[in-house]
Symmetry: D3
Subunit: 256 residues, 6 copies
């Protein structure tokens, strides 16, 4: 019977179970920040801006030769329907997400090569239709790579905000991209939109490097559980999606 259900069932936007939503990327969207990108996947749209500063966070030793990469994530009030109230401080969900984005970027940055600088990537969700945290990671990598170029010796357009010294070698050790997978009505699906996410029994976010190693795996059965077999199906779907996103990131950074 469950089988029959599956035959009838289709994704709202007629995607295949293992198909990503179309991704559109506008690198260099802003002139104020050294790196920025307006990225959308289906109806989800995130503005990622990467800023660079010569100071280190207070908790780091002043004489540190290493730098730091951090992220902030917030949804604009109009990004949802109905409007979500602006919150006085990052709520629990935003805090979790911005910590995830920061960890994901730091896993592929050699902080020693970055030198005593702080890179801050702001991920502001302009329109939300599921997958905002994973799209933020995918976009943040592009924005940060563009920002790092302004510090690079071969660059002609060095950042005015850090004019005194550039980078001696490229601080990224790999690229990073992310996607969501889930189990909806018993079927594993790639890249859930909001309606699918609401219906999902299991929700998993995967963050992988361009070379296919894991940075983060977060699988949750909200009021539900999942088997090891289902875990493996989801991992396979996620790998497929992330390799496509990695190719897209590379092609954009080559042509920008």
């Amino acid at each position: 019977m469950r089988n029959d259900q599956r035959q009838d069932w289709r994704r709202r936007d007629r995607r295949q179970a293992d198909e990503l939503r179309p991704v559109v990327v506008r690198p260099g969207f802003l002139k104020t920040a050294p790196g920025s990108v307006l990225i959308s996947a289906g109806e989800t749209m995130v503005l990622c801006t990467a800023s660079l500063a010569g100071e280190l966070p207070r908790w780091m030793p002043k004489e540190s030769t290493k730098g730091w990469v951090t992220a902030e994530y917030r949804m604009l009030p109009g990004s949802t329907s109905p409007r979500s109230p602006r919150s006085d401080r990052p709520d629990g969900r935003a805090t979790e997400i911005q910590r995830l984005i920061g960890r994901s970027l730091r896993a592929v940055v050699d902080l020693e090569k970055l030198g005593p600088r702080t890179a801050t990537v702001d991920c502001d969700v302009l329109q939300a239709d599921g997958g905002t945290r994973t799209l933020s990671i995918t976009g943040a990598y592009i924005a940060l790579a563009i920002a790092f170029r302004t510090l690079f010796p071969r660059s002609e357009s060095r950042s005015e905000s850090c004019p005194e010294s550039g980078l001696e070698s490229w601080p990224f050790t790999d690229s990073v991209a992310a996607t969501s997978v889930g189990i909806v009505n018993g079927t594993p699906l790639l890249d859930l939109c909001y309606e699918e996410d609401i219906d999902a029994e299991v929700d998993m976010n995967l963050v992988l490097t361009g070379s296919g190693r894991f940075i983060e795996i977060q699988g949750t059965g909200e009021e539900s559980t999942f088997s090891e077999t289902e875990l493996h199906s989801m991992l396979a779907l996620g790998r497929k999606g992330i390799s496509e996103l990695t190719r897209l990131q590379n092609s954009i950074l080559e042509s920008h």
Copy 2:
């Protein structure tokens, strides 16, 4: 001598003293909010989204037949160079500005015709190069007008968020637009960019209706003062700029 200075002096972007920066408007930028616009004037870019809700603010009597229009204003961290720290709650400046935007919109809305609804216009500055508050007002009017259409009986695309009842008559009594004027090195200038604003002896924001009546006049000499003659020069420049913005607003609303 002062005269000589003026002859040599030119605006950074070669504009005339009474010339607005080029304005680009993308109405309907988001699908989540009933009304939205991405508006830019030179390098200043603001995302205005207008949301509608069936509830009234708590301070209004529950049985009110009138509605309310309010606004929120915030600058995204990456909108300035260097990055500005994110302030989740509005600081003094943001509070002043969002109160100004709200007052300006309410001056041209018949709250009785709006009925017991709250319209909230969020003005999020994506990129800041001077004049963010006046551009927010100019854009907010467009976003709110698009949102009101979804409530209007003739509309085919009624808002899902307020499906139960539409508007019986158009709630706007006039249009509203705003611009800044100032005195820089003794010369009155229209529509100051950030660098001009920093140098200005006097800074004035003007909010006028489409029919030319005043809604708000805010003139400030920060560590400076100005004469009644200078006041009149600034009023004339502002009138000219606002009438051009009014024409632009009308043409966009006609074609959207």
Copy 3:
């Protein structure tokens, strides 16, 4: 018909349209602060205290030779009827007002002559009946002038809080006073009390120097608009009131 209305109409306290409320000033009300004044205009009563400190605000460069003047404004809970709750932090209105008071004072202070000091003027409204912000400005000037005297070489009562060095020359370049004007039932009126303010179609605050130059003009039509002719009527009324306040300030400072 409108004419007839005006003939019948009288101000609650039988003032003429261009008449200020009686102003009572008690300079040196407190002994703790170097400058203080208890000032009242009709039923509005404000305690202005000016304090001086040797430190500069954090945002100023440490080696600055210039000083800073700032203000805080708050209404005591019992200043209104019914009592207003004490607010956890300055609300939007208080923030706007204290920024206005600070700007108005700085427009007539030569910060270079003040030297690396911070002057803070606290304006605490003990009783509110309209015009609290403009009365605060008028009183703040007196309190600050009294405080500056304690720093002045000719003074015999130098401030203990800054004993190390006095002022070499008087830091005020001019005096400053303020009043409100408005249009009530179509009639321009000077110095609105609370009931008039509630009824006003247009509310305007004017801050002028003793020599008659503008520091700030803030005119607002809350749910209303005004013409250029009405603007000029209000400017004329305001000028008259402020020149009277200026004379009062001078006579108090001469005799204190």
Copy 4:
């Protein structure tokens, strides 16, 4: 030797050890609040305003027939030299003090006779020279008694804020006054000023009813201790001072 010290020693203002500072009371200082008093003892000056509201605090049952009396205490920034930063929310010290004032008033109010009303007494310290909390209690009683009169059937000036119903019987069961005592250089002293308070080994606040019963006794040896004999000396001094304050309160309330 200790004896010799005592012979030489005199209080800064030449008071006897058991002498109160001169108290000046201006009842009805404000028109906005139903009860108010500006009270000073030496250089300490407090504005006490008593407000009445028809609502009860949220934590009380809605159908309660009893009322509530509460207090707020704050020091204005200019009340100390040098200026103290404004703390909008009560710090630890202010919290302790306003809880003490509220308890002291409730000990002499029959909340059943007050009926379902909230009385709030705001004690704002305009100038601080020691003893602000005890002077606040002494003044708060006067302000609250004046406010209660506006509710009393025999009163001609019933409060507009509670017009619907007056009091059937007088809610005070006794009067309340307070003073401080302390041990300075081994000598028990009545009504410490700030300099004495700083030097005190022991600091005690006493709140007594007009009929001489204890409401509150708070004795503290900050980095010091005291014997039972010293405790008794302090109690005797306090009783003397409070009986004088009680007489003053009565005479003011009779003549006001």
Copy 5:
């Protein structure tokens, strides 16, 4: 070479790589809460208390027939060496953890059977030596099970806080336990203590039901990455540890 390292290397407390720390459980530690447990694993000690209330969270519909289970997590200041400053509101880390604990419990509670009640489990860490979040989950299940018994019809000691109605059937659908695994110096280890956690290249928290299904998998390579093979090694270690914890939970609940 890597092999050689592993031979020399030993865990600080001489545990095997797949060995849990000794767990000590004191069920019913407090009398105030219906369910409580003091649980320790090695030097990590957590006090879990489960409270029951008849109200639902505000965001749930009032007429809901389902209940809610939530959790709060906090570390006491003295739980670490040196002392950690008290954070009264949950920081980012505490927020993440208490959301995880709540989700984990809800995955094995049938909220319909719980009925319109809120169960709150407070996990206060008295002493921290790694694994506080997973030990909190393991202890929270025991505390909540003890609390549910007080609601159960067969129970003789029904909760006084919910006397009106008991449970008709047992709301747990399964048990839940959790542990951490990680990769330290290239070796996968079970149940990391603090020093091992600091050194770990990869840190993974696993939450499983008693029947072996996944509730949550959170694997993170902080400034590092991991392969799919390493993922599988960690999953196997975690399964082993959790099955031991499940047996311990069952034996305690049988004998309590």
Copy 6:
């Protein structure tokens, strides 16, 4: 008649009016903090942990040769029935109590002998049944004495957190203990439990040194008053209880 009532009346736990609840002390409960104690009196249970740090509070001069002792007090949510919500910041009551604990400890510590160190004692109430603040003081002394031993030259287990230098002489000048007394139904009682505290007309907390001198006396008649005779009865009861607690403290510190 009152006499008859007293004859019939008995304390819930059959204690005599002058009898303390049984006190159980577990010194060294935690390994993370240099000093700790789990102390209970009847059903009231408090965890006191004393931490030592080499820094001084910001408000102390950097070159100070004296140290500081401070305390924090909080009730865990599960310590009451029903559960009390966790508060975002210390509420008024907690603030008062932690200030009292700190003052009480400082009265018996020679801050000069402590040297430039900060000792922080955290008092976390695990279970509350009246007398939490006085039990916190009694326990805090034990915890702090244990912590000071780690700094003492003769100690073999010097604190790792302050390894550089020990104490030259013992910083305590006396011991400190505290208890509550009250008047319930007209009868003075020692060491009130929660139910007695609720019924008490007068509530008094006494903090005394081991040698019998007063540190703090706080007597309050909430909605009630008390006579000097009643004050003396309460003082006598309190002295008796505190001398017993002092003996207990000494015996524990001798044997630990």
